[in-house]
């Protein structure tokens, strides 16, 4: 008997088959993902998603008898009351109780449900999304150098000493300069001591002594290991290009922003973050919230702490400008910004905001997305509120002036969670130029 532990074998043996399956059912899966993305929460992305597709494209047909019609005979256990010749009313639907041939009706099998992992879901969801075509993949040369072997050098640190090379050089030098080998000297000494013991041939002895003397001198002059022999492994620092991006999240947190609106904004920010994360090795996030003054905060504060005050959008833009100048030099970073607001702004600030956006912020940005969130008024309330809804907000009107064709800015309105995914897809879908 042979017992083998296979538990440590590489996992994911069926991965190749799974990829083949996903490729096979691609069309249906893409559709299912799009459908389901409308309904789901962003947080769910962490868990992957269970999707169901119709079995049509992944059916494995075979010749088999149909489940109904004809004459069938079944032997079944558990007779309690029947005797030969009894009749039994036929149970509803196909094979029925006595049926041994598969499902009673085909209906249940039409849908095929399985779970997509988070990566698979995002892959498919973001499949044909692209960053707007003005991507400048900045290369920044800090922190990430990698060492590559690059031949040998005659200087270096002892830890990089290359023994083989060094000894090879030493050996060839010793051969070339005819440094006597220890055996040769030993042989001479042996011969001399032999002659001294026997003491017959004085000439020979003298000659040998002279020879030994020469050899010993030679051996002293020509070192075993000379500094010229020594070789070190040489490493070169090769800069590794790093595409990096920073994402600015700007949000109005004044009293008019409700929890619902913040929730919508958060969802949009997370999506954008996930998307950037897939495109850049390194993504920084900066959260800037503003009322009548703007402040850089951490994520927790950004989304959850309440603040009161007026609304002055330009302060946030100023803050963003300051932070860029401070920490994210335009040349080294791909800069993205997403702004969420309910559209309120102090009317005297509109002109300033527009100018700031157009002249300072947009030229630095790869992309600027403005999301206007509003309360989800189901069924419409009519009256004054309804009128407000239909009207364009101050900020919307202001930004609309900036958003000329060709400018890297996009504006969308979002009212319900359902709209987040479609709006996001719309913003980044491949064909769409900037709006």
């Amino acid at each position: 008997m042979n017992i083998i532990d296979r538990r440590l074998n590489p996992k994911g043996k069926s991965l190749a088959n799974r990829q083949r399956f996903l490729r096979r059912a691609k069309e249906q899966i893409v559709k299912a993902v799009r459908d389901s993305s409308g309904k789901r929460n962003i947080q769910d992305i962490e868990n992957g998603d269970k999707i169901s597709i119709s079995t049509g494209g992944v059916r494995e047909p075979s010749f088999h008898r149909s489940a109904s019609g004809g004459l069938r005979e079944h032997v079944v256990p558990g007779n309690k009351e029947f005797v030969e010749g009894d009749t039994i009313p036929r149970p509803d639907g196909g094979g029925g109780r006595g049926g041994s041939e598969g499902a009673p009706d085909g209906e249940g099998e039409d849908d095929f449900r399985f779970v997509l992992s988070r990566e698979e879901f995002l892959d498919i969801f973001m499949e044909d999304l692209e960053l707007p075509d003005l991507v400048k993949q900045k290369i920044k040369q800090t922190e990430s150098f990698s060492l590559h072997r690059a031949g040998y050098s005659s200087s270096g640190s002892p830890s990089n000493l290359n023994l083989v090379r060094t000894m090879r050089n030493s050996l060839s030098r010793r051969i070339a300069l005819r440094r006597p080998k220890p055996e040769e000297i030993e042989r001479l000494e042996q011969e001399i001591s032999d002659l001294e013991a026997n003491g017959t041939d004085d000439d020979r002895l003298l000659e040998l002594r002279g020879e030994l003397d020469r050899q010993m001198r030679r051996s002293r002059l020509i070192p075993y290991l000379d500094p010229v022999d020594v070789r070190y492994n040489r490493f070169e620092r090769v800069p590794r290009p790093v595409a990096q991006a920073v994402m600015f999240c700007l949000m109005d947190v004044s009293g008019s922003m409700t929890e619902h609106m913040k929730d919508l904004a958060k969802r949009f920010f997370i999506l954008l973050f996930l998307f950037l994360k897939r495109r850049y090795r390194h993504v920084d996030i900066v959260f800037i919230r503003h009322t009548h003054e703007a402040k850089e905060v951490d994520e927790e504060t950004f989304f959850y702490s309440a603040e009161t005050g007026g609304t002055v959008v330009s302060t946030a833009l100023e803050e963003m400008k300051r932070i860029i100048a401070d920490r994210y030099p335009e040349g080294d970073w791909n800069i993205y910004a997403a702004q969420a607001s309910d559209g309120d702004n102090m009317s005297n600030d509109n002109a300033k905001s527009a100018a700031l956006l157009e002249n300072v912020i947009l030229p630095m940005c790869q992309y600027f997305a403005y999301i206007e969130v509003s309360q989800d008024y189901e069924g419409g309330l009519g009256g004054a509120l309804g009128a407000t809804l239909g009207r364009e907000t101050d900020l919307w009107r202001t930004y609309k002036l900036v958003a000329k064709p060709g400018a890297p800015i996009a504006m969308r309105k979002v009212r319900t969670r359902r709209e987040i995914f479609p709006v996001f897809r719309e913003l980044f879908s491949r064909e769409t130029a900037t709006t």
Binding site: N2, R18, R20, R65, G70, V76, P77, T87, V115
Partner: protein, 518 residues
Amino acid sequence: MSMQMLDSPNQLIYEGADWDYDKIKRAYDAIERIAFDEMGLDIYPNQIEVITAEQMLDAYSSIGMPLMYKHWSFGKHFAQDETMYRKGLRGLAYEIVINSSPCISYIMEENSMTMQTLVIAHAAFGHNHFFKNNNLFRQWTDAKGILDYLEFAKTFILKCEERYGHQAVERTLDAAHALMSHGVHRYPRKQPLDLREEQKREDERQEYNRKMYNDLWRTVPTKPGVKEAVSAVENRKALLALPEENILYFLEKKAPRLHQWQREILRIVRRVAQYFYPQKQTKLMNEGCATYTHYYIMNRLHQKGLMSDGAYLEFLHSHTSVVFQPNFDDPRFSGINPYAIGFAMMEDIERIATKPTDEDRQWFPDFAGNGDAMGTLREAWANFRDESFVLQYLSPHLMRKMRMFEVRNDASEPEMMVEAIHNERGYRKLRKALARQYDIGYLEPDIQIVDVDLAGDRKLILQHRVINRVLLDESDARAVLRHIANLWGYEVMLVEVDATTDAVLKEHTVSASSLLLS
């Protein structure tokens, strides 16, 4: 360990639920002694592999084989099984055993030591003995060569994917898989199969073609005229050897427009189908044999004081749930459980051999009361398949015990009727009907290739001989026909003919397709 030590109460081979390699080794040795000395089993060398639940799912999805070529359908099954498993709708099998030499049994790391012991007795001895001794397996499968052959198949298909593209290979495999159940030779071959030889022969064939290839032949002018064409047609007709029920074989050999690699893929699928053919026909017996073996062995381990009472109870718990047979009116009923009826029949044979009643002596004169239960069982295991086994060995006693009855469900009549029950008049009828339920020739529709319109448009004609007016499932049948058309390259027609009257009941036609044949 001496017998004396074994008999003393402290000589349990293990205690507690956790397993380790030493315990497994001890359990294996104890089981082996019982299996060889008392049961007289004869097995392939064993290889036991410990795997995780995920690996078990992996093994599930590639039809239980440790290596298999890649195909999306295995990925689909994996996704399906995984979903069910995670939902908790379905547990995993405790073991998977592979008919190969050495015989590989997978055991799961989560199992308790009692379960590992049970699994070793069940798979490594029960199934193993059956694989090695049953006539069908001996005749049809090559236990020594199967893993090598699958390795070859895997590499071959991988190479094809590289050379001809994923899609082309996938389509060929799809078509071949659809025909898997109609890709076996049902009748014995002249010599036992040697897959290694098979593979060598294929290599030689290709090497020969390569050497003999000479582009000059293409330029040699052929005689124009009808004579050539006619003789070619006659030649082909003779070669076709119709009717042929092995559709995959026919397409592999005769489909006019397939590439060599596509034929090889059909051949691989056909080989795999052939390998599993005996398993399909011996489910009841195979499980019955393994279940009887583990039951016998576990009981003996307990009797000899090698297994604690607690462990024995744990074993009984899982044993009874394995052989549980719900009645027909139970919501849990889903046909007859092969473990239940298999085990019941084996126990029944033991009873007849050792303590027969007068009825048994009358029904089974050749072995009733012969006192050699194991010998009788071993002979049955070696020489029968499910259908013939039921027909030969199902006793009135068991039919009464399981309270079997036969129902006739004729769609043309308003109600179902009880044809036979477990009484004197019904026994033989019941037994025959149950045997037929296990007859694979009856279960799978009888479909044959009957004709090819060679002089005309090369239409391939198949015939389904309909038994009891049960037609094929139409949408699936059409899908399979489309696959056949993909391989054949010309129109394909399937005629459903009543087996008794020869009346044509239905026709399906699928037009030519050259999706695969660029």
